[in-house]
């Protein structure tokens, strides 16, 4: 009886821990997010208000649009836009796409497997230039 009770308690505690863990996964560090995006938020505001293109910033050493900030403090990259990675980054459900891809008889070949492997790495691994390298 004692063993049965211990087993049931262990099971209950394990299930509770799993449930708590899954919910905990959806916590977002708002403070870190705010800090990480601070420079980009400022750049967005500046670009939008002044209707600027990136070429407008060339040759300018320092831009003070805020007394406490400078564009050159951050390493902004606007060269060689990888448009395919950009497009894939806006795909909501890449995993759903892969299911369609593997079920499509027309694309059941090595190339499909290759694409799945590459895109999985890019989209899910946050590698921004993987597809351009693959191409």
């Amino acid at each position: 009886m004692k063993k049965l009770f211990t087993f049931i308690m262990a099971l209950f505690l394990t299930a509770s821990a799993v449930q708590a863990n899954n919910a905990d996964l959806f916590q977002l560090d708002e403070q870190t997010l705010k800090v990480e995006m601070a420079e980009l938020d400022q750049l967005e505001e500046y670009v939008t208000e002044n209707n600027m293109q990136w070429e407008d910033f060339q040759g300018i050493d320092k831009i003070n649009f805020d007394a406490s900030a400078s564009l050159m403090a951050a390493d902004f990259s606007f060269d060689n836009m990888d448009w395919i990675s950009f497009a894939w980054g806006l795909i909501c459900c890449p995993v759903g796409f892969f299911v369609v891809a593997i079920n499509d008889d027309k694309t059941k070949d090595e190339k499909t497997s290759y694409w799945i492997g590459v895109i999985a790495g890019v989209v899910l691994g946050g590698i921004s230039s993987g597809i351009s390298i693959a191409l």
Binding site: L43, F76, I91, C92, G117, V123
Partner: protein, 236 residues
Amino acid sequence: MKTTIFTLIIACCWGIFTPLFGQDFFRVKVDFTIKEKTAEGTSKLTIGTAYYDKNTNKLIYDIEFPEKTTLIMVDTTMVIIDKENNIERKKMPNSNRFSIFNLALNGQLDNYGLKGTAFTISDVEKSGDLVITTWDPPKQLAEHFGRTIISQKNKALYGVIFFSPQEEITTKQFYRNYTNVFGLSFPQEVIQVVPSEEKDFYKVTTYKNIEVNEMDNEDKYNFDLSTLEQQPVGAK
């Protein structure tokens, strides 16, 4: 007499506005901004407008920053038109169906488009105000994908967690600040987090000025790619 006139007015209004307030959403236009801190240590900003028509399955991105560029995605082709009207074509898998635009228009965003695919639900639980569903991949994808956990808050997609086959979290996504445009629910902010040992990387996509079933940009939605074949000097 007054009752008849009133009834006719109501009937006319119903006939005019039902396509907007009903569930037949077929087109969406939205201004977007993407802010990203990459694993390579750089910061990226992209600003533009997206146009999507689910009937033609054509997705157009008008990029304003960093430089004016138009991307047209239809079938397995991506056409890139730069600010000097140089044209470049790339091949890519047909992916518009799984864009946030198509999923939202078809009311599939809440399940991340996984319903009806070969992914299977292995667990559902409720925790606080979240309903959390675990989806397992089909065998053919088990080599590349682990489970996917989706959470909903107030019946709307709230978060998505991707796991590798080795049970490591590869990416997290959060969908929030939903707005309702004539009955179409659309998140105005999507946050992607890529965890790593040293530092997490963030990508924030914001959507605003969302328009549903708008008819003012037919040239965008009905862009004919065959006309690009006739481009004179300057086209690649």
